[in-house]
């Protein structure tokens, strides 16, 4: 009960008026910046770093945590409303959220996302308090072969999002994998498909691909077939989640953290893969599977909850090991160092007030964010009432700002447009867009882990299956593949005996 006492002390720190103010300011700024195009949580924290220079460390970090979580809340807003994800963790939110918004259920999608973030963040933070040392110790044991096994599992899960035509789904996946190849090979520094361009050496960002395929591709597609007869604004619908919505989503909110939290804690986890896995899980388990792709609320609730829980998982590794598992954590680590504080194994002993104050403020921040975002959801949803030409012109404008603002390179805009035209063509010929985005996320990660595992084992293939974890994952995969066959055999036998 040691940590419980410390946590109570932490609440005393977090609930002082000044610290409450910083937390509130943090979540407000974070939400506002998260809504802006092209600025995800990592950029948000980095850009607001100077704002906190004048504060004492505890206040500064309480504010940071608010910005971090706030940016995650805000990031899904543009995904849902404009189909324009601002960062990679919010890509999945666009899949079901945007169709919901188009069908006049934008407020419900935003509310499901907000509650999802709240549930994920809360459960994640509780797990952080309860399990921090254990999880941290386990996270270190996860190595390249284990990651690769998870990637194989994820690739098998992709088959469930290939759409009605397998061939067209595969074509889309391969287009994504090809885009993922562009850039310097991470292991040897070889140029692949860069055509000598330095700008392409770092590869094409997942966000650019998602914004290109989703937002630009869609805007062009709509432009080609804009319904000119009806000029009605999009319906906004009821502002709150109905009882039916809650019945469908509460399990998704609770399941998300189970997938998201562990991924956040492990060194190469991040939020993309858990949000995708959560999406696929929800699709499998849903009673409304036919609604997926057309606005299934579970497909928003689960992944968003997983995303926030992974953020909490990230803090576990950062606070206990000094191990930044995502770009945001790396920026926060740098911020710690600015104050002369070294996160790591000694942090809990050395700075208990700061750490527990920070953790307690996470809970406070979550409540503030929910209180801020639930009433905002119907307001945001009204944004869709603006005339159609403005809506799509605005999407193009914000997509362009997002691509241009960070690097200031006109070439990024051209890349974005080319990917947008690909997205247009894919819509025209019935190639689903999602497998391409998944290909860009999974392809490079899987290749890197595979080759790193082989490199560590000095080229021996046994290096892929030399951990209990990887072996168990492969066992699960075999089971998943064999199960449908097995089920057929069993039912047949039963029929015979009956």
């Amino acid at each position: 009960m040691d940590s419980l006492n410390s946590l109570l002390d932490g609440f005393q720190t977090a609930l002082t008026p000044a610290h409450l103010l910083w937390a509130a300011l943090g979540v407000l700024l974070g939400t506002a910046i998260g809504v802006l195009p092209g600025i995800g949580p990592a950029m948000a924290v980095a850009l607001l770093l100077p704002v906190t220079y004048g504060l004492e460390p505890t206040g500064a970090f309480i504010m940071f945590a608010g910005i971090y979580y706030g940016a995650m809340f805000g990031g899904s807003t543009t995904s849902i409303l404009l189909n324009t994800p601002g960062e990679s963790a919010a890509v999945v939110a666009a899949l079901e959220g945007n169709p919901m918004a188009k069908a006049g259920r934008g407020a419900q999608a935003l509310a499901a996302a907000a509650v999802g973030h709240f549930a994920g963040g809360m459960i994640g933070t509780i797990l952080l308090v309860a399990l921090a040392p254990t999880v941290a110790a386990l996270a270190v044991d996860i190595g390249a072969p284990d990651y690769f096994a998870i990637m194989v599992l994820a690739f098998i899960a992709v088959t469930s999002v290939l759409g009605s035509s397998r061939i067209r789904g595969l074509a889309s996946l391969l287009i994504g994998l090809t885009l993922g190849l562009v850039g310097l090979d991470q292991m040897t520094g070889q140029q692949r498909l860069t055509f000598g361009s330095l700008q392409l050496a770092d590869g094409i960002d997942v966000v650019i691909v998602a914004v290109g395929l989703f937002a630009i591709g869609e805007a062009l597609w709509v432009a080609a077939h804009l319904r000119r007869t009806t000029g009605e604004p999009l319906p906004v619908g009821r502002p709150w989640l109905g009882r039916d919505d809650v019945r469908r989503t509460w399990k998704s909110w609770l399941r998300g953290p189970l997938i998201g939290f562990p991924f956040g804690a492990i060194p190469a986890g991040g939020a993309e893969i858990p949000t995708f896995l959560s999406y696929v899980t929800e699709k499998r388990l849903s009673k409304h599977r036919h609604e997926f792709g057309r606005g299934a609320i579970e497909g928003v609730a689960g992944p968003e909850s997983a995303a926030s829980a992974s953020a909490a998982g990230t803090l576990v590794s950062m606070l206990t090991l000094g191990l930044p598992t995502t770009a945001v954590a790396a920026v926060m680590l740098a911020a710690f160092q600015q104050y002369g504080i070294q996160p790591g194994p000694l942090l809990f002993e050395r700075e208990p007030e700061l750490v527990w104050g920070l953790i307690a403020s996470l809970f406070v921040g979550m409540v503030l964010l929910l209180a801020l975002n639930l009433p905002l959801a119907p307001l945001w949803a009204k944004l869709l009432r603006i005339p159609r030409p403005y809506l799509y012109a605005g999407i193009l404008f914000f997509a362009a700002v997002g691509a241009y603002a960070v690097g200031g390179e006109a070439l990024d805009l051209v890349v974005l447009l080319v990917i947008g035209v690909i997205g247009f063509g894919m819509r025209r010929y019935g190639l689903p867009v999602l497998p391409a985005v998944i290909g860009v996320i999974l392809g490079p990660a899987a290749e890197q882990q595979l080759r790193r595992a082989l490199q560590i084992s000095d080229g021996s293939v046994t290096g892929l299956v030399n951990t209990p974890f990887s072996v168990s994952v492969y066992a699960v995969i075999v089971l998943l593949l064999v199960w449908p066959l097995l089920k057929k055999v069993i039912t047949r036998r039963r029929n015979v005996t009956a």
Binding site: Q190, L193, R227, F397, R428, S460
Partner: protein
Amino acid sequence: MTTPPAPRRSWLRDHSELGVGALLLVLGVLVLTDALTMDVDIAQRGPIGPTTVPLVVGTGLLVVAVLLAVDVLRGGRGEAEGGEDIDLSEPGDRRTVLLLIGVFLGFAVLVGPVGFPVSGALLFWGSAYALGSRHLHRDPLVAALLSLITYGVFNNLLGVPLPGGPLMGVI
């Protein structure tokens, strides 16, 4: 002037999806060429080097290209994506799409020389015009305001510099 026989033209139109197969084929060849011409004289451990995955992906592209072509010739069709704002009953409006692409490219070209506020306003205004908005006095003002506010938020509040335009430093 000779008009091509009508049935032939409509066959091509019906099978325009073969173009997707052709594009995949070209992409596959491109990936394979890039992989095969790569200089792999580098310390590599084990069977998998920098060219392995490109070779797999490139081969996959070729296979899928052929499978897709076979599927199309057998009468399979990709289902064009529907949606709330989409009316598939009419043929595609090529002019609007090309106009939008042009406006976007124009932004990419202009943003450096004339600055973000001007080119951003042109991007929004041009897109809205292409999409059928004809509020001749409202549109440019909305575009200019949106662009200027975005510039202010990024440049002044966040410290993400955007090019300001030709009058920077003059006034």
